[in-house]
C-alpha cells in the first residue's frame, strides 16, 4: 500500500519533468514559428535539428525563413527563455531562503536595484576596464546584490523576526524609491526617453546573439551555484536557527544563495529590463505540482519559467501586431492576480 503510494509519487515527479521539458520544447517551436511572418512548424524543426549537425536537412527550407529564424526569432526565443529561467530559479531560491512564497526578485526590490545599476551604466557610459561588454551585467548584478543585502538588513532592524509582510513592504518601498531615482535620471538626461521606458518595462526584442553571449556565463554560474544549494534551501525553509542545528553554516550559505540569486536577477534585468512576477508565479505553480523540495523545484522552475516567458513574449509581440507590448505587461497581467490570491490565502490561514 505504502510502496504503491511512493511509486505513484515518484512517477508523478517523473511525469512533471517530462511535461515541463515538453512544454519548453513546444514553446520554443511555437515561439519561433509564430510572428509577422509565420514559418511552418516543419521548417522550424528542421532548422533546429540542423544546429546539432544535420546541415543537409536544410535543403528544402526557404532561405528567408532560415534567415529569420537564425538571426531574429531564435536569439529572441533563447533570450526570453534564459531570462525566464533566471528569474524563476532566482525567485524559487529567494522564496526558500526567506521562507516566503511572496518573495521574488521584483517584490524584493532586487530587479529595481539591477535597473539602477543598468541605467547608471547606460547613461554615464561606464566602461569598467577588462570587463568590456560585461560592464552592464556586472553593474546590474552588483546593484541587485547590494539592494537585497540592504532590504534584508533593513527589515531585520525593523522587525527581528523578519515577518513576510515586513520584507515585502521594505522591498516595495525600496523598489518605488529606486524607480523614482531612475525616472529622475531619465528626466535629467532628457533623451531616448521612450526607448528607456520600453526597456524598463521589459522586452527581449532586437537583442540578438551578443546579448545571449553576455548573459549565458552568468546564467550558468548562478544556476549551478543554486543547484548545489538545494539541501540548504530545504533546511532554510524551517528557519535559520533550525538550519544551523542541522549543520548548515547559515551566514555563509545565505550569502552564497543571495549572491547567486542577485546574479541571475541582475543579468536578466541587464538584458531585458524589469520583467515582474515570473519569479513569483513559476515557483509557486511548480510547488503546487510537485511539492517544495528544492532539488526538483529549481530544475522544474527553470524549465517551466523559460517556456512561460517565451510564450509571454510571443503574446507581447503578436497580440496587437505590428506594435509590440512590453513583455512585463503580460507577466504582470498574469502575475498580479496570482500574487493577490497568495496574499489572501496567507491571511486566511
Amino acid at each position: 500500500m505504502r510502496k504503491q503510494f511512493t511509486q505513484k509519487y515518484l512517477t508523478k515527479r517523473k511525469a512533471a519533468y517530462i511535461y515541463a521539458a515538453f512544454f519548453l520544447l513546444l514553446s520554443i517551436i511555437v515561439g519561433i514559428a509564430v510572428g509577422t511572418v509565420s514559418i511552418p512548424i516543419f521548417s522550424v524543426v528542421k532548422i533546429l535539428v540542423s544546429y546539432i549537425g544535420f546541415d543537409s536537412i536544410l535543403h528544402h527550407v526557404d532561405p528567408m525563413h532560415i534567415n529569420i529564424v537564425q538571426n531574429i526569432r531564435l536569439p529572441r526565443v533563447i533570450l526570453a527563455g534564459l531570462v525566464g529561467a533566471s528569474l524563476s530559479i532566482a525567485g524559487a531560491a529567494f522564496q526558500g531562503l526567506l521562507r516566503n512564497p511572496l518573495a521574488d526578485p521584483y517584490t524584493l526590490g532586487v530587479s529595481s536595484g539591477a535597473s539602477v545599476g543598468a541605467v547608471i551604466t547606460l547613461f554615464f557610459h561606464l566602461q569598467i576596464p577588462f570587463l568590456g561588454s560585461f560592464t552592464l551585467p556586472f553593474m546590474s548584478v552588483l546593484f541587485s546584490f547590494l539592494i537585497i543585502l540592504f532590504v534584508i538588513f533593513f527589515s531585520k532592524r525593523l522587525d527581528p523576526s523578519m515577518r513576510v509582510e515586513t520584507i515585502i513592504l521594505t522591498g516595495i518601498v525600496i523598489s518605488s524609491f529606486l524607480s523614482a531615482c531612475i525616472s529622475l535620471m531619465i528626466a535629467l538626461t532628457g533623451n531616448e526617453l521612450r526607448q528607456i521606458i520600453g526597456w524598463l518595462l521589459g522586452s527581449v526584442s532586437m537583442r540578438g546573439w551578443s546579448y545571449i553571449k553576455m548573459m549565458l556565463p552568468f546564467f550558468v554560474v548562478g544556476s549551478l551555484i543554486l543547484l548545489s544549494q538545494t539541501k540548504e534551501l530545504n533546511a532554510f525553509a524551517f528557519g535559520e536557527e533550525r538550519a544551523q542545528h542541522l549543520g548548515i553554516h547559515v551566514q555563509r550559505r545565505k550569502m552564497i544563495i543571495l549572491f547567486a540569486g542577485s546574479m541571475l536577477t541582475g543579468v536578466a534585468v541587464a538584458v531585458s529590463g524589469t520583467i515582474g512576477f515570473i519569479g513569483l508565479v513559476i515557483p509557486h505553480f511548480v510547488r503546487i505540482l510537485i511539492g517544495p523540495d528544492h532539488k526538483h523545484l529549481l530544475v522544474l522552475s527553470v524549465l517551466t519559467g523559460s517556456g512561460f516567458t517565451i510564450l509571454a513574449d510571443l503574446f507581447a509581440r503578436t497580440i496587437i501586431s505590428p506594435t509590440e507590448l512590453p513583455i512585463g505587461v503580460i507577466t504582470a497581467l498574469i502575475g498580479a492576480p496570482v500574487f493577490a490570491n497568495l496574499l489572501l490565502r496567507r491571511r486566511r490561514s
Binding site: L246, I248, G291
Partner: protein
C-alpha cells in the same frame, strides 16, 4: 560529555546568564528548570551554538564549542526546537531526511543506502513511518513533534537538547516522548539535556536537575534535593505544597490556589439521615476521606457517605440523583449483607474538638454458601461486619488520619473482647470480621490535628467514644441474637 565553565552572557545591558558551571555525563538525562526569564532558553542557545559566549567556555567531548565546525557539531549534538516554522508543505520523509545533512559529503551530496537505513530506523523509533509521505501541515501537534524528533535522531547525535518538548502536547504524548527519552538515555547512552516548564515531569524523569534563577545556577542536584518546598516557594514566588509521586520517589509540586472554598462549615447530627435501609451522611462540601475496606482504597474527596442494605438497590440509585446534587463520583457507598438495625451515633464536641461518629454492626441472616453446606444449616443469625465511620471538623495531617484508624481499630478490638459475642455455630468469640470498615473524613478546615503534636485530646476522645459506641451496638446485637 559536556562541560560548562563560568559561563556568562548578556544582551546589551541585561545580564542573562551569569557564572554558570556544570557538567553532564554520557547517558544522563538532565532537566533545566527555572521561572520565566531565568535564562533557560539563552543557556540552551549557548549550548547549541546559536549564541556565542563572551565569557566562560563550553566544552563538548573535550573540545571547545567554538572550535567545532557547524557540520561537525551537528554530528555530535541535535536540537529539538520548541517551535518550528513550516513555510512550505514538505513531506514527513523530506523533513526527516534533512537530519542527514551533516553526514553527507561533497557539493551535490548524494543519498546513500546508509542514510536511507537510518532514516527508516528513526522513523520507526518515533512511530511516524506510517505517514512518511504525508505533508507536515496535515499532522497534529504531537505528530509534528515526533517528526522533528526523528529529524534530530537522524543526525545520530550523542547529545540531544530539547526546549520544553512537552508544550502543546497532550498527556499521552508527553508520557510517550519522555518515556522514549528515558529509554534512549538508559539503553543507547544518549545524553539528554532538556528544558522543562513542568516541574513534576522533570522530577519524574530526570537524573539530575539544574534550577536557574535570575541567570544564575541556584542548585544542581538530584530531584529530591532540588525540589524542596521552601526553595520552590522562594524561586517561583508562589505558594505550593510538595508531595510525592504515588509510585516513585519523585517529589511533586502542587500549587495552592488563592481561591478558597467556603469557610466555616461544620458537621453535626443534622448531616445524618437514618432509614431502615440506609445510613447517610451528607456533608455540605467534599471531605478529605480515607476509606478502609469500603470501596476503593486510598485518599479521596467525597461529599456523600452511605451504608446501604443490598436488598433494595432502587433506593440506592435514587438517593444519588436527587438529593444534594450528589453524584456517584463524589460519594462513598458501602453495600452491606446484613440489616442495619444496630446503629450508634454520636456527635462529640469537647476541648476544641468536634466530630461525628457513626457505628453500625450488621447482623447477617444468610450464611455464605460454603458455610451452609458445611454446617448443614441454611439460615441463622450471626454478627456481621462492624462499620466505624468518623467525620472530623478540623484539618488532619496524613499521619493523623492513620493514627485515627489505629485508635479506632484498638478501641473496636477492646470492645469486642469485652462483649464476648459467641458464634453459635462455631463457638468462637468474635474478634473481627473481614468485611469490617473504617472511614475517616475531615473537613480540612479550622484547627490542625497533627499526628505528632496537639492530637492527644483528639485521640483520647476518639478512642473513648468509639469504644462506647461499639459496646452499645454490640449490646443491641447480642440481644437480637438471643431473641432469635
Amino acid at each position: 560529555m559536556l562541560e560548562v565553565n563560568h559561563l556568562f552572557f548578556q544582551y546589551e545591558e541585561e545580564k542573562v546568564v551569569q557564572d554558570i558551571t556544570f557538567s553532564v555525563q554520557k547517558g544522563e538525562l538532565v532537566g533545566i528548570l527555572g521561572p520565566n526569564g531565568s535564562g533557560k532558553t539563552t543557556l540552551m542557545k549557548l549550548l547549541s551554538g546559536i549564541l556565542k559566549t563572551d565569557r566562560g567556555e563550553i566544552v563538548v567531548k573535550g573540545k571547545k564549542i567554538q572550535e567545532y565546525g557547524v557540520k561537525e557539531l551537528a554530528k555530535v549534538m541535535a536540537v529539538l526546537p520548541q517551535h518550528v516554522q513550516e513555510s512550505f508543505s514538505y513531506t514527513v520523509k523530506e523533513i526527516v531526511s534533512l537530519g542527514r545533512y551533516a553526514h553527507q559529503k561533497g557539493i551535490f551530496q548524494s543519498w546513500s543506502s546508509k542514510d536511507e537505513k537510518i532514516l527508516q530506523r528513526v522513523m520507526k523509533q518515533t512511530g511516524i513511518s506510517d505517514f512518511q509521505n504525508k505533508s507536515i501541515h496535515e499532522l497534529s501537534g504531537g505528530e509534528k513533534q515526533r517528526v522533528y524528533l526523528a529529524q534530530a535522531l537522524a543526525q545520530e547525535p550523542e547529545i540531544l537538547l530539547l526546549d520544553e518538548p512537552t508544550n502543546h502536547l497532550d498527556l499521552s504524548y508527553q508520557k510517550e516522548l519522555l518515556d522514549s527519552l528515558k529509554e534512549w538515555s538508559l539503553e543507547k547512552n544518549l545524553t539528554v539535556i532538556c528544558i522543562f516548564h513542568d516541574l513534576n515531569l522533570a522530577s519524574l524523569y530526570c537524573d539530575r536537575l539544574l534550577l536557574l534563577h535570575d541567570g544564575k545556577l541556584e542548585i544542581d542536584d538530584i530531584p529530591v534535593e532540588v525540589m524542596e518546598e521552601e526553595r520552590i516557594k522562594r524561586i517561583y514566588r508562589t505558594s505550593i505544597k510538595r508531595t510525592f509521586h504515588p509510585t516513585s520517589d519523585a517529589p511533586q509540586i502542587n500549587i495552592l490556589p488563592n481561591w478558597e472554598q467556603e469557610k466555616g462549615i461544620s458537621l453535626d447530627l443534622d448531616c445524618l439521615t437514618i432509614t431502615p435501609e440506609q445510613v447517610k451522611v451528607s456533608a455540605p462540601l467534599a471531605l478529605k476521606t480515607l476509606p478502609v475496606g469500603v470501596t476503593e482504597s486510598g485518599f479521596g474527596w467525597y461529599k456523600d457517605f452511605l451504608i446501604h442494605q443490598r436488598e433494595n438497590p432502587s433506593i440506592f440509585a435514587d438517593s444519588f440523583s436527587k438529593e444534594n446534587g450528589g453524584k456517584p463520583s463524589n460519594s462513598v457507598k458501602l453495600l452491606t449483607m446484613g440489616q442495619l438495625d444496630n446503629i450508634a451515633v454520636r456527635f462529640v464536641k469537647e476541648k476544641g474538638i468536634s466530630f461525628l461518629l457513626v457505628v453500625c454492626a450488621e447482623v447477617e441472616k444468610e450464611l455464605e454458601m460454603w458455610e451452609a453446606t458445611k454446617y448443614k444449616r441454611e439460615r441463622d443469625f450471626t454478627l456481621g461486619a462492624i462499620h466505624i465511620w468518623a467525620f472530623i471538623n478540623g484539618e488532619l495531617s496524613d499521619q493523623a488520619f492513620l493514627q485515627s484508624v489505629m485508635r479506632i481499630t484498638e478501641a473496636k478490638t477492646a470492645a469486642l473482647a469485652e462483649s464476648q459475642i459467641v458464634d453459635k455455630l462455631t463457638g468462637i468469640v468474635a474478634e473481627r470480621a473481614s468485611a469490617d470498615s473504617v472511614l475517616i473524613a475531615a473537613t480540612q478546615q479550622g484547627s490542625l490535628v497533627d499526628g505528632m503534636k496537639n492530637s492527644i485530646n483528639y485521640e483520647e476522645s476518639l478512642s473513648k467514644n468509639v469504644y462506647d459506641c461499639v459496646r452499645e451496638v454490640l449490646l443491641k446485637v447480642s440481644k437480637e441474637l438471643q431473641a432469635n
